[in-house]
């Protein structure tokens, strides 16, 4: 396990280095941030001073060198627009995004797995077919449109049944503002969390259904049945446990993308999370924030994947054994 861990760690560092080069060049090569943030009536002298202050007059390689040497000391640069450290800015948005992503994850798991298993156990029943049709909708309708429809139905038509956006009331939990502990906060979270969860729920339904159909025909299930175990125990213990590996893998990856790229949902619902910050920063060409964001995202994906791989080892003894030999 330790060898396995170390090898994965080495690969991860390589990925981070490669991404640093790609992201930095990609973001710093386009556009002109000065024109986005300086008042139009600033004269040329002001403009040149602003360019020099941000170091944009230096050649790209020099800017990259400064970025890397600062990054190695844990400093991802200051936001052009807010003049505060970019990493700090992003992390201040993290709680809002995390609680939304986790609520969406809960929806995806607790709706997706049971529904998928029902569809898998009774594929030809009306319930099974309805679930599968619903999941196709969840897949194929654009996220943005789903969000607008949720707002339209629950906020506009049902005038104020649920708020159309924003974060609502927050309370401090260990010094971090969270919404899920207040009724107002929860009501604000509901629509965006559903919006974020719809696609993932559909995905989980499909995975769970396929897994269930496969597992139901396996010898160990037949054996369990022959042993006279109750149907309930067969489904909840023998089948459920065995379909979880692909579900955990996919959700691990999807959790990452829900945290990092909830851009559409956060924009539609004006949810003050990291995705909204990213899109605002891209529009304002706030380069340090975009770069820091992408670097933190890369870092997070790598950590999540590492954790998922470790989880495999725990869930499936075969992985544990083969990795120990390698």
């Amino acid at each position: 396990m330790l060898v396995y861990f170390l090898r994965r760690l080495g690969q991860s560092l390589l990925v981070i280095a490669a991404m640093a080069v790609l992201v930095f060049i990609g973001v710093y090569a386009i556009g002109s941030p000065i024109d986005m943030m300086i008042a139009p009536d600033a004269d040329q002298a002001e403009m040149e001073a602003a360019i020099a202050r941000l170091g944009l007059d230096k050649p790209l390689w020099e800017q990259f060198f400064i970025f890397v040497s600062n990054a190695l000391q844990g400093d991802l640069g200051n936001s052009f627009v807010y003049a505060t450290p970019a990493a700090e800015l992003i992390l201040s948005k993290l709680p809002a995004t995390l609680e939304l992503a986790f609520l969406a994850l809960v929806f995806a798991v607790f709706l997706g797995v049971p529904l998928g298993m029902i569809a898998g156990l009774k594929p030809n029943s009306i319930a099974g077919k309805t679930i599968m049709t619903g999941s196709i909708m969840g897949f194929s309708l654009p996220n943005f449109w789903q969000g607008m429809m949720l707002i339209f139905v629950f906020s506009v038509i049902l005038r104020g049944f649920l708020p159309s956006g924003g974060r609502g009331e927050t309370v401090d939990l260990l010094g971090i503002p969270v919404s899920f502990l207040t009724a107002d906060g929860l009501s604000h979270m509901l629509l965006p969390a559903i919006n974020l969860a719809l696609f993932k729920t559909s995905l989980v339904i499909r995975l769970a259904r396929a897994g269930t159909r496969e597992a139901a025909l396996q010898d160990y299930v037949k054996f369990a049945r022959a042993k006279g175990l109750s149907e309930r125990r067969i489904v909840l213990v023998h089948i459920a446990k065995n379909i979880m590996i692909p579900v955990v893998t996919i959700l691990g990856l999807e959790l990452g993308s829900m945290i990092a790229f909830a851009v559409v949902t956060e924009t539609v619902f004006a949810w003050p999370g990291m995705g909204k910050l990213l899109i605002d920063s891209i529009q304002a060409l706030d380069r340090p924030v975009v770069v820091a964001y992408l670097m933190l995202t890369v870092f997070m994906f790598i950590v999540i994947n590492l954790v998922v791989d470790m989880l495999y080892c725990l869930l499936d003894p075969r992985v544990r054994l083969s990795e120990a030999k390698a």
Partner: protein, 528 residues
């Protein structure tokens, strides 16, 4: 239905004192001197007064100064208002203005500094607590308008007890200035404005409270909450759902819908002109084909032909849904320096073809028109319409529309022979667009900053410079009118239309539209 009307009845007493506004763009900070840009400047006006104020049509009116006058060519005397206090109770005196002017250049990492509006100040002298003498290097008529762009801080509240001596190279006696963060978290958010800081969570909300001891008309609202909702659809939805009482910049295509749902829309002419700028410099010029390497725009007949080929009325009617006004100058009628009755060229495709033939381009040529697609109202569609109109007179035009950050970067590298952009006059007078857009580029003089067509006309430059040194308002306005006519007559630049800014709000409110496009809660009143 029952539940809805009941909710409405129960909500109304609260709503009378509380106002929620959905904003299309969020200020980057609540520090009044951090970032000289629209959203920040609008928010600043709630909490921090300036010596001179700008009303809805950007006319100057007394603020913290009750009157001001030039005492000689380079000296101005401001008489300050008596009995004004800051939010913390400390009295307002001339020393606070000196403190403010000293702080502006000292703001750390300001993305766009307010020094553009203070650097004309050569000296400041506190004659007594309520009289301030301002010295400039040369005659400087824009001083009153420039002091209207920055809010005043309290020296006392920031721990300064003694005298402050102003100097351009660094003041003395100011101590350490408060940091931007101290304004964002409210600890130093202390002005004289009609509203006080209550809460700011970036990306989420800004909450302001009425200043009960305000010197002017007290606002109608006990609490005002601003929520940034940057996407158009969700912002409209928030209004329709009743989550906010008012939104700025509703998309033009949604105005009918908003009205049909029982909401109100206010519209007002803005100070922003949308224009086409020619490349007056390069030869050959990028994107032009079929002219044998020549830059056709150096020929005034071609520029006039382009103007005549464009049907401004059609653009306003079809693309802008009537929510814009065709432009014949760089500043709308009625603003300082505009010529009464100034007309734009009429739509005359035949005349345009004839002019092109006279200029030797009877067979037309190929052109690429650069335009942003997310900066001005319906910008890419306007560019498309212009391209089709030019095609009809033989100039085969391809539109290259792109996101604003890329567009401005390319424009500043002179990559377009014809581009579309907009200019809002921050000072509300003609000197602003003339100086920025058509004066010869000159870093020393601070002229032609946005003249990316590199137009140059010494006669016009001389007039602009003369206007900028004429303190007498009537004389200055006459010179500006003349200069504007010279620029128009020479087709230095082609104004297309003035943007009209819409606001939408629930029934029972009213808002007086502002030419500077700012959304200011003091202008929102319960309609009677």
């Amino acid at each position: 239905m029952c539940a809805v009307s009941l909710a409405a009845v129960m909500a109304s007493p609260v709503a009378a004192q509380e106002l929620k506004i959905g904003l299309s763009s969020e200020p980057s900070a609540l520090d009044p001197h951090f970032h000289n840009l629209g959203p920040n400047n609008a928010m600043r006006r709630h909490m921090y007064d300036s010596m001179v104020l700008q009303d809805e049509s950007q006319q100057l009116k007394p603020g913290l100064a009750t009157s001001w006058k030039p005492t000689d060519d380079t000296t101005w005397e401001f008489t300050l208002r008596q009995g004004v206090t800051f939010h913390d109770g400390s009295p307002f005196t001339a020393r606070d203005v000196v403190y403010t002017v000293c702080r502006i250049p000292a703001v750390e990492d300001s993305p766009s500094s307010f020094t553009v509006y203070t650097k004309a100040i050569a000296g400041l002298e506190v004659k007594d607590d309520h009289t301030l003498i301002v010295k400039t290097d040369k005659p400087y008529p824009l001083l009153p308008v420039e002091v209207s762009t920055w809010g005043v801080l309290s020296a006392t509240a920031n721990g300064v007890a003694g005298d402050i001596t102003f100097s351009r190279d660094g003041c003395s006696g100011t101590g350490d200035f408060p940091k931007t963060q101290a304004f964002n978290d409210g600890s130093k958010a202390n002005g004289t404005g009609p509203f006080k800081f209550k809460e700011f969570t970036r990306g989420e909300k800004i909450v302001l409270e009425r200043n009960e001891s305000y010197w002017g008309d007290k606002p109608a609202w006990q609490t005002v909450t601003f929520r940034p909702i940057t996407s158009n659809g969700p912002r409209v939805a928030a209004l329709l759902a009743g989550d906010v009482d008012m939104i700025d910049k509703p998309p033009l295509q949604d105005l009918e819908r908003i009205k049909s749902e029982g909401f109100e829309v206010a519209q007002g002419l803005s100070n922003r002109v949308i224009y086409l700028h020619f490349d007056h410099e390069q030869e050959p010029t990028p994107g032009i084909d079929g002219t044998g390497g020549k830059n056709p725009f150096k020929d005034m007949r071609v520029r006039e032909a382009v103007s005549k080929a464009i049907n401004r009325e059609a653009i306003v009617a079809r693309i802008m849904g009537g929510v814009a006004v065709p432009a014949g100058e760089l500043l709308p009628q009625g603003m300082f320096g505009s010529t009464p009755g100034a007309e734009h060229d009429g739509y005359d495709p035949d005349g345009a073809k004839k002019l092109l033939a006279d200029a030797g381009y009877g067979d037309g040529f190929k052109l690429v028109l650069g335009s942003p697609n997310d900066r001005y109202i319906n910008d890419a569609q306007i560019a498309q319409a212009v391209a089709q109109m030019l095609a009809r007179v033989g100039i085969t035009t391809e539109v290259d529309a792109m996101t604003k950050s890329t567009f401005f970067a390319r424009r500043n590298k002179y990559e377009f022979s014809l581009y579309m952009a907009g200019w809002g006059s921050g000072t509300g007078e003609m000197s602003s667009p003339l100086r920025a857009l058509v004066a010869t580029r000159d870093k020393e003089k601070g002229m032609g900053g946005t003249n990316r067509g590199r137009y140059s006309n010494p006669e016009l430059d001389a007039m602009i410079e003369k206007a900028l040194a004429t303190v007498d308002d009537d004389k200055r306005e006459a010179i500006l009118r003349e200069a504007s006519q010279v620029a128009m007559k020479n087709y230095a630049i082609l104004p297309l239309h003035y943007e009209v800014t819409p606001w939408a709000y629930r029934k029972g409110l009213s808002y007086t539209p502002r030419t500077d496009q700012y959304t200011i809660a003091t202008g929102v009143t319960p309609a009677n």
